[in-house]
Amino acid sequence: MEEELTKEFAQKLMELKGEARGVVFKTDTEYVLAEKGEEGLKKLEEDLEKLGYPIKYREIETFSYYPVGLRVLSLLAIKKNLSLDDKKLDDMGFKATKKSLIIKFFIKHVFSLEKIFFQKGPKIWREHWTVGEMIPIELNKTKKYIILKFEDFNLSPVYCVYLKGYLRGLFSMMIKTPEMTCQETKCFFKGDEYHEYLIKWE
């Protein structure tokens, strides 16, 4: 069900607990600029101001913490302004990994998929998000798949789609493959207890 962007809804989002590093707004900025240019970014900032939560994207500090509600609001406003369907939203998440500074921290550990999956990944996640847990479930190199889950990370169904693309982008930099897919196999918003993602490659 589509969430309607109103002042009230925005206010409700702000009640979400937790914070995220400013880097997520940086990747949003670059996506909007790439798709709609300066005009698109200006319009986005104006719309957010109207909702009562102005964001000056260029003034966001990469390593500072910002409310997770603001991060979800930014994503919803972009989806609305750029008329993004799920496919495009997935693509936005995928592209974010190519420019995200968090990914630069991740790729420091690309020498070992096991290490990044089981040790460094959850740690880096915790350093960038003060909410939710990224929990590795299974890494099967022979059958070429990964299962991981996110607990207590129930921001918005829109974010589930975005995260699907993001995870695909992230693992495509660690696994050399011509084709990689990512599916959300369990979703809190669909009645599951947590979010579960299955990443497969050829």
Binding site: V110, F111, K176
Partner: protein, 520 residues
């Protein structure tokens, strides 16, 4: 409690300062990476491109989202990058390794790569940075230089080959000139002597070094060269031939020819061909013909008179049949005598013994006489013979009447002989400014174009007339031309096969004839 709060506040302030410093550092690193004009990328140890700067994206043609996360083989030559990765992982640092980038547009860019390993704090290899220096322009320039060098080398080789060829040609030409069996002199366009071959030196008993670069007039001062120079000064035609008697029994035919390139005169050649032997043979031949003709004429004359006596009945009655045979024999004998006379005339002409008895006389009566003598033959052949006399009164000319009569007779006889029945022969006399022109126009068989050059050469007979009349000797026109030229006149003709011919001669009017005589 207050102290604890204050301590927390200080710690928070420190964190804020650290965050600000981190942001500044991130911004600085990003700006530096973005500004760097050298294409740089970070490649993971398993061969995935993890990061690139704008310069790398520009040179490869791929956008950030396209290139980051893509296999390194998409952007680099597979074998080259495999070798470079291996070397980097082994050595840690590689400098100046030639490698090709494969752009999105499928073009290749040659460059030099430098790599350095990137490790974690724990010393584990993350991958390596690769800096790429575009050598395509340098390579292009290098290729152009190589091509230019190759072209220059080719040109030098060609020039050297041409020089060697020219040298060989020069040597060959020199050898040919030096070994030429003819004497050779070469003059430049200013008529200064450029070259003289050894044979020419020998002929004139001179040395080339004394004569080189001297003009024709200067060469006159060398006595042995004087006769040659006189010939050269006299002739202005492009090509001419003349005989030069150097000393007794040493005769050369002098041929001069202009050397021209695209109608521009570069100089002239003088060739001296030894014709001494030909002259001796010719003289011997003439003497033999003269002797033979003289020896033949006496018995032929005896035969003639005997036959005449037989025909006249001085030796008794002859039957009609016998008379017919004797008449034929008499005519054949007459032709033999005529041929012998012609041969004797030729030998006289060639030996310079052809005697002329010039008198001042009128030409028209002579011509009328010849026409009258030809009328019967013309009528017999049903040919209309006309005479068109000059409108003006003709001045008298100096001539050997008998010889001129011979020429006119020859022209008219030929016209009648080679004009078919029903045709016409027109004899004309015309008074020109300095000469009298005689012409005989016929509607005869004409002379084939390809044979016209040889008409006045002795023994020449046109191929078409040989088929018609087998009696001619081919000597008449040769004798006629010599007679006319001995009078200072000219003889020529115009002819078209199957349409007819016009034969002309001119005789100079008295004053002109006297001028002509001064030359001898």
């Amino acid at each position: 409690m207050e102290e604890k709060k204050e301590k927390v506040s200080v710690e928070e302030d420190k964190i804020l300062v650290l965050l600000e410093d981190l942001s500044s550092l991130e911004s600085y690193a990003r700006d530096l990476f973005s500004f760097l004009p050298l294409p740089v990328c970070l490649i993971s140890s398993i061969g995935i491109i993890l990061d690139t700067n704008p310069s790398f994206e520009e040179i490869s043609g791929y956008g950030t989202e396209e290139i980051i996360g893509s296999p390194v083989e998409n952007v680099f030559d597979e074998k080259e990058i495999e070798a470079l990765t291996k070397e980097t992982l082994e050595k840690g640092v590689v400098k100046n390794k030639e490698i090709k980038i494969l752009t999105k547009e499928k073009t290749e860019i040659i460059g030099s790569a430098a790599t350095t390993l990137r490790k974690t704090e724990e010393g584990e290899v993350v991958g390596y940075f690769l800096g790429f220096f575009d050598l395509s322009k340098v390579k292009k320039r290098e290729r152009e230089l190589k091509e230019t060098q190759a072209a220059l080398t080719n040109m030098i080789e060609d020039a050297e080959e041409a020089r060697v060829n020219a040298e060989e040609e020069k040597n060959k030409t020199e050898a040919i000139i030096n070994n030429l069996t003819d004497g050779l002199l070469v003059f430049n366009k200013e008529n200064k002597l450029l070259l003289m071959n050894p044979l020419a030196e020998k002929i004139f008993d001179v040395k080339t070094r004394d004569l080189i670069n001297r003009s024709v007039s200067e060469l006159k001062t060398f006595p042995t060269l004087d006769p040659l120079i006189k010939i050269l000064e006299k002739e202005a035609k492009k090509v001419f031939k003349e005989e030069l008697l150097v000393k007794e029994n040493l005769v050369f035919e002098v041929t001069t020819a202009h050397v021209e390139v695209k109608e521009k005169k570069l100089g002239s050649l003088v060739i001296l061909h030894d014709i001494s032997r030909e002259k001796v043979v010719e003289r011997m031949k003439t003497e033999f013909v003269s002797l033979a003709a003289h020896q033949l004429r006496t018995p032929l004359s005896a035969i003639k008179w005997t036959l005449k006596m037989l025909l006249d009945g001085d030796l008794g009655e002859v039957t009609e049949e016998q008379k017919s045979f004797v008449t034929k024999t008499y005519k054949s004998n007459e032709r033999m005598i005529s041929l012998i006379n012609d041969l004797l005339d030729i030998t006289r002409i060639e030996e310079g013994r052809y005697v002329y008895k010039p008198v001042l006389a009128e030409l028209e009566p002579v011509i009328r006489l010849v026409i009258n003598s030809s009328k019967d033959e013309a009528e017999r052949k049903k040919i209309k013979l006309e005479f068109k006399k000059s409108e003006k009164k003709l001045p008298r000319v100096v001539m050997d009447v008998e010889k001129i009569k011979l020429v006119a007779q020859n022209f008219i006889d030929n016209a009648i002989k080679y004009t078919p029945a029903g045709g016409g022969v027109r004899v004309s006399l015309k008074c020109l400014k300095k000469e009298i022109e005689f012409s005989v126009k016929d509607t005869g068989v004409g002379i084939p174009k390809d044979q016209q050059e040889r008409v006045f050469i002795k023994f020449f007979r046109g191929a078409n007339v040989v088929r018609m009349d087998t009696e001619g000797t081919g000597l008449g026109l040769f004798i006629s031309k010599n007679i006319i030229e001995a009078h200072g006149g000219r003889a020529w003709f115009e002819s078209e096969e199957n349409k007819g011919s016009v034969f002309y001669f001119t005789l100079p009017i008295k004053e002109e004839f006297e001028e002509f005589l001064k030359e001898f």
